[in-house]
Symmetry: C2
């Protein structure tokens, strides 16, 4: 079997073109003029496009998103030291690839190129992949990806890098703590053809701000400070999306855009509610929303949990997708659903039910007493809710 | 590429064995004795197993399910005139297969064997496939399956059949109404190797009832009559599942079993609530729950609807699954969600969110204002809810 990377990329471009073309048509249908060019806010009600064109508007919305964070000792060159966009457009499979950072971007793109034949090593400074996600799910995900051939080093940092004409040499410091060694772990060398730097993103604040336009930042300086109506400290200047805070996710930015548009229109648009789901598009997928065991412990809140395994679900077994679990977290008294973690096939879609129930202020019992089609993966969520409610069904 | 039907069936058997083995372990863990044999209720508190063994119990639960309905002019023979169980165990792909009945069983098994190479013709007496399901979804599903090579005749009945040593000849009467002909349509002959009769199932009432045990039937005689506690007219005799009414679905039977077990245990187990989802496991899948446009029209209820297409969803396009739609139905005043229909990839899993929201008495807005991960298919449900609420997003 041969892999035609060019055909794959052409197909990707065609899908992207169709989607962006669809947005362009909608803009036109709604009589929104789209001007292509670099915009700069040069006054509270003035945007300059390119060198000459000036647009006057009483309200200006900044939505310039975020940019991949760069490592000072390994600056992006677009060819061998890659950001996520570069890594989506390679024209052939690299022989070897180091991925710095085991967040969503690192694991997704790392596992894609690994599956396509590259020897991939993901290097993560924290003790777990997907830092911040449920620790047990992250462990299971890492172990599953390793079984599929992805190299993963956690608790490891790239101390230095040397880019030469033939290769990139990374000097990786492993944490020695776990083995009971001194804090300083071993130093390991890794030579690779390409490096994907996926150590996070930073709000793209400055690119659209002209001289003298200095909206206030958040305390840590990383985001623009806005109030609940997305208003910055500059009159008439609003901001949404990655610019104004975490999580840096398209669906969170979209909801902020909807809420702001409704405000502008003077509509009684209730604000969106419920948690923002996080998704990692690996196989198995990881999705979560609301509180995690870690966040509840950190804030000293009591909780009860219910967990059920993919391995005991009919559809998962029939689809050879028995790896993973659903974990639901509730407050002990009223069983109000506080959080959900799903690791496994289809997690990205299954999380929607838990998010909607949380948004409605529902309880584990609301899921436990609702009929779920058989055979479906959604029964795993129901069974986890039954476990939480003290009525396990297909679990001893 | 070669198809190894035997390997496929072995794998199927292994999965089934694992699942039934799991149930057996759970029974053991919960100290439930399972006695294998044919049980007959021979008194209000007495079950006979086989010829000799007698079990005394103050409470007896009938859960004997249903049997495939037979056609008098085409009785099952297990080899060439098949029921659904037979059609799951063929050892090679038939050259040609007629499927009588385009319900879930007929379309699922018909499309499986069609995909594996058989020339399959599905014959349905009603005007649409999946009678009772949303008419527009059924039309789109039929057209999609036809494009995949499945033959489908609607408004057609098998008038007679002749089983000879070499073939089965069906005489099919097509409805002439649509073409403006007289009511009596053309007669067409179809010769096939095998026939799957999938014209429905009937409650398996009598097989476990001994002489003199005659619990009352429903008015139409098709089911056992039970009250809200699953009690039949015979003291101490209970019944659940396909025996007591439609829909004949495993997940409905399971919920009834849970409710009855809780009643027996004297537990305050609230009854399950919300609609029972129906699912057709074709590709695309069809899933629905609650009211349909047809049922609302029939009962004279006003409704509003919101529909959104898979073709405008990023993940669907990326997965080449742009066929299908989500349709949500609400009452006009409070937008209370009354029904949902999903045709498309993953419909069986996506329906869970709508069912849970309906079970909680939620509104379309509860889905519209909840963040759905991007890119996911669940965004189609959200967009349909936005359309229903008069705030279409990615639709002109």
């Amino acid at each position: 079997m041969n892999l035609d990377v060019k055909a794959m990329m052409n197909r990707k471009s065609a899908v992207v073109a169709k989607l962006t073309g669809g947005i362009a048509s909608l803009m036109k249908a709604r009589q929104v003029e789209v001007i292509k060019g670099k915009g700069t806010v040069c006054g509270p009600d003035m945007v300059k496009v390119g060198a000459s064109r000036e647009l006057k508007a009483p309200k200006i919305v900044l939505a310039t998103g975020s940019l991949p964070s760069e490592l000072t000792h390994l600056p992006f060159d677009g060819k061998r030291v890659l950001n996520s966009t570069d890594a989506l457009s390679l024209t052939k499979v690299p022989k070897s690839l180091a991925v710095i950072g085991a967040g969503a971007v690192g694991l997704e793109l790392g596992s894609v190129w690994s599956r396509l034949g590259a020897e991939v090593t993901v290097i993560e400074a924290m003790k777990q992949v997907i830092p911040g996600a449920d620790a047990a799910a992250a462990r299971t995900l890492a172990s599953s990806l390793k079984k599929q051939g992805l190299g993963i080093l956690t608790g490891a940092t790239v101390e230095s890098a040397k880019v030469s004409s033939r290769k990139i040499s990374l000097s990786i410091r492993k944490s020695g703590k776990k083995q009971g060694q001194k804090e300083q772990g071993e130093l390991e060398n890794l030579d690779v053809e390409k490096v994907l730097v996926a150590v996070g993103r930073r709000a793209n604040i400055n690119s659209a701000l002209g001289a003298g336009i200095n909206p206030e930042r958040t305390a840590d300086g990383r985001f623009l400070k806005v109030d609940e109506n997305y208003t910055t400290s500059v009159p008439g200047l609003f901001a949404i999306g990655d610019l104004v805070g975490n999580p840096m996710l398209a669906h969170k930015a979209e909801e902020e855009a909807l809420a702001l548009a409704a405000l502008f229109a003077g509509e009684a648009h209730p604000p969106w509610c419920g948690p923002v789901p996080g998704i990692v598009y690996t196989e198995p997928e990881l999705a979560w929303a609301g509180e995690s065991e870690e966040s509840l412990k950190a804030s000293g809140m009591d909780y009860i949990k219910g967990q059920f395994s993919y391995g005991a679900n009919a559809r998962a077994l029939a689809a050879e997708a028995g790896e993973g679990f659903v974990k639901l977290l509730s407050s002990p008294g009223d069983e109000k659903l506080l959080g959900a973690v799903i690791l496994g096939r289809g997690a990205s879609e299954l999380i929607a039910e838990a998010v909607s129930v949380m948004a409605m202020g529902g309880c584990a019992e609301d899921i436990a007493l609702t009929i779920h089609g058989h055979p479906t993966l959604s029964e795993i969520t129901k069974e986890a809710a039954l476990v939480l409610s003290g009525r396990p069904l297909h679990r001893a």
